[in-house]
Symmetry: D2
Subunit: 292 residues, 4 copies
């Protein structure tokens, strides 16, 4: 028989389940902020954190070049997809656990912590010794079986908002993790699905701000999936910082035109460099620590 909850090497000592948040309460600054550390990188403190990397891990060379690129500009956490949630089963599904290992190597060589998405309950255990944090994608925000399992893991979980989830549903999805004993939750807004079709999704910056008022968890923004338009990412990154949110997750590719997935969505190295430079100026104006 399978005993998922027993044979984790990294199992969280299950404390008493915390009190659920009240969704009906009015926004309050009195909720103590939670600080979540992906290895040595603290999210939810004073600083503004940038998580960056390619949409998908494609090869050793590609993820290595990506890690070097983002590290060179002060990014604090490497991202990349190994298990890919694709709309069609007939498209590239990612390199799987091999991709996770390639990413681990690249991150280590650049001295970065790394985060990658988990799609299946059956992959949690095997990924556990390679990743610094798990990402739950928008399409799995309602996968309560996966969330419950991640509640037993002692690693941070970046929980993307379902693209049709209300703020209340998002916060309750976080509770599915918390109820198992894992308090290390980072929320990530990545765009909601609306009638508006000129951007891929509609980035709900106001919703992210509201979520942050309603909960103790840090909230970061992913403008890459929200818009699918690299030209819009730098101004939205600056907006994220100015609005006082905790960080940013963006897709950047050393050679976007050759990417195996979401090729037209990734920042080019040039746009990325400009964005980081602009963020540095606004962070300084806001008095917030930024980058490495």
């Amino acid at each position: 028989m399978i005993a998922y909850t027993l044979n984790f090497t990294n199992i969280h000592s299950t404390a008493a389940p915390p009190e659920p948040h009240s969704e009906s309460s009015v926004p309050s600054r009195s909720i103590p902020r939670s600080r979540v550390s992906i290895r040595n990188v603290e999210i939810g403190g004073d600083g503004f954190v940038v998580i960056a990397g390619p949409c998908a891990v494609e090869s050793d060379e590609q993820i290595q070049a990506s890690a070097e690129l983002v590290a060179a500009h002060g990014v604090q956490v490497l991202r990349g997809g190994a298990f890919k949630a694709r709309t069609s089963p007939y498209t590239f599904q990612g390199l799987g656990l091999d991709g996770v290992k390639l990413m681990r190597d690249a991150a280590d060589r650049c001295g970065l912590p790394m985060i990658t998405e988990v799609l299946s309950e059956r992959d949690v255990e095997s990924m556990l010794s390679f990743v610094d944090a798990f990402q739950v994608g928008s399409r799995n925000m309602d996968n309560t079986a996966l969330l419950k399992l991640l509640g037993q893991v002692d690693k941070p979980i970046l929980l993307k908002r379902g693209f049709a989830a209300t703020i209340k549903e998002w916060l309750l999805a976080a509770e599915y993790i918390v109820v198992g004993g894992n308090e290390q939750v980072v929320l990530c807004e990545r765009g909601i699905r609306t009638f508006s079709s000129e951007t891929r999704f509609t980035l709900d910056l106001a919703g992210a701000l509201y979520a942050r008022q309603q909960t103790r968890f840090p909230v970061v923004i992913d403008p890459s999936h929200a818009t699918g338009n690299p030209q819009l990412i730098p101004p939205l990154a600056a907006a994220t910082l100015a609005a006082g949110l905790d960080g940013l997750m963006v897709e950047v590719h050393p050679h976007p035109e050759a990417a195996l997935s979401d090729a037209d969505q990734a920042l080019t190295p040039d746009l990325f460099a400009n964005m980081m430079e602009q963020l540095r100026r606004f962070a300084s104006a806001a008095g917030r620590p930024f980058a490495r």
Copy 2:
């Protein structure tokens, strides 16, 4: 190690993966219709099939009374939830496998096949010997890990449309099942999430018709979750039949006021009886076999 794909007793002999459907093709009646049998009940043929039962299995008495009620009115398949996908981890999560077994007994005593929702990859195997068909809920339509696993099962899969999924995404989710070798897919429209808040979701009857034109799979409608309003269910059931769709899935409870979940959404026995009577008249006018 876990080898989900090996130890199913009911494993499907994996055929060559079928050609994917082309989503760009114009609607065509020339796609040969697929007929899916839940035991002896054929969905997708000439007849109009009704699947009914309570939102959740609550007790032996309740599911037994429910099965008797629906059987008495000619319903062909019993439905009921044992593993419940709830928004909050702090609400009733269902009776789990015990609920599945109670439902199996009730169905058998009334001579009905039964269908229930699966939430976790880890439950598929244990449910396999009890259920006649698996339901994948709206919140798991994008759970590709679960879909791939169900592609290896030799049971019909009722795939609800994600409440924010396009028709194309819904049909491609079905392909995640088909690609594993399981062609027994029934599509179920259950309402999409829109700005409109006077009904719980917005039933997309036109989308269901369009989906049926684009694919070979039968398409049924769930007006209970779409509206959350029992007064609207009978006219929408009649509309479903008149529009030429393949069937209906509704929630009915012997005592709705005492239901443990979605209490205000279930048909009362009286509304249910009237609905079945009206459906019988329209089925006759449309020349379609109806009920047992």
Copy 3:
């Protein structure tokens, strides 16, 4: 100076303003139904009424052929657009008042009442002697200045639901007409704007049913604008009848391929004839008078 409220030849004697409907009340069948007559055609009684015609009046020949086509199949009211609400100012804007007059002639020759859309406060007076009913389009549902003016007219007003309006907003828009003294309001659901892009809009049949429960006004459905797909119109027309709504408004063109606007949305004469035939059968099964 302009005194719009004085020089109408057809002015309604202003009665005391009626009580507003309460939107918070639960659905009730006890609201007495309103019956609205477009000349001799009663909407909101036992019968099922079909309003049909081309998207736009294009020429004397075209509107005459359209009127003959719809009259031949028993349609009770002729529709057609003379003032057209187009997204772009650089596309065909309709024939204006000349189009209204052509339509009046065609309707008279076929013995049909007619309805057409009004776009501007400044056109109400000049249209008044030619039309049997005014249509307010989806894009003008919130044009309260126009609604207030139509409240002073003694002609029926078909008020389309704004494609982003809640039911409550729709019913309150109707009150803007009623408050001026004109109780002859027919509501028309024509699809709402959602993320779903495979149909032009999302037909909200459940919302239309809910609206009918909440108000005394008749409710009809326009599946042409809702879907933009002629293949979907006949099944949705049948669904409208089976659901118990009051009528249907559809676009049909004698030669759709040559239409100046919405060419790909109009029913062909063949599809239209089949639809009317099928409606006749369902109306008979439902015991409802149908067609002329």
Copy 4:
């Protein structure tokens, strides 16, 4: 007869209609920016412009106090509603032309230009000598009759995005003004209607950026109507500036708790002062002129 296009005292000399914008073109910075002046206040240049005032003009005292408040903090343009687009005809409809005159007086005494909403074609002429700019509200973005009329006026038009309008539809609505000869258009994003209900609407900051890339017109943001939540307005104002947009329109009331409409949406004087202070810092970091 009415000859709206003739008897304006301020009539625009009708130039040849400009070329329509191409919506299919890729975003380009090469479109020359249009600069629109509301009297002496230029929108669309280097500076960041703040337009502020109460939701509605309620009395001489209230609009005077509002004008003094906003002027004291460096706001460049006074806003306020005299003709109010209310959902229900049974609620406060505004003071009408009397409100416009009160606002004119208050603006003059504080040396500010002013802008107010026009709801009816029949009010354009009488408002013309009192206002510095016309606002077209979200609910009238599709009122093409009104837009065409405003195309003949020689005053700036602030065109709010319809809350269910695509960017393309918004830009084409602007063309309805331009085609008449009035190039002085400012676009204003004020939130779109989505499923998300925790904020009143969903502010589409990315859409506003995209619109600005696609057109020559300045683009400003209204976070008051977008969120209906004063706590969210200051961070969204900072985001607007950091994202590089042209300005801001916000509601502020000297005594929000006593406001006759949208009382819970207005900034308090304290929140407003803090917001202006923060904007000043970010404007300085961005090297943009700000406030008077």
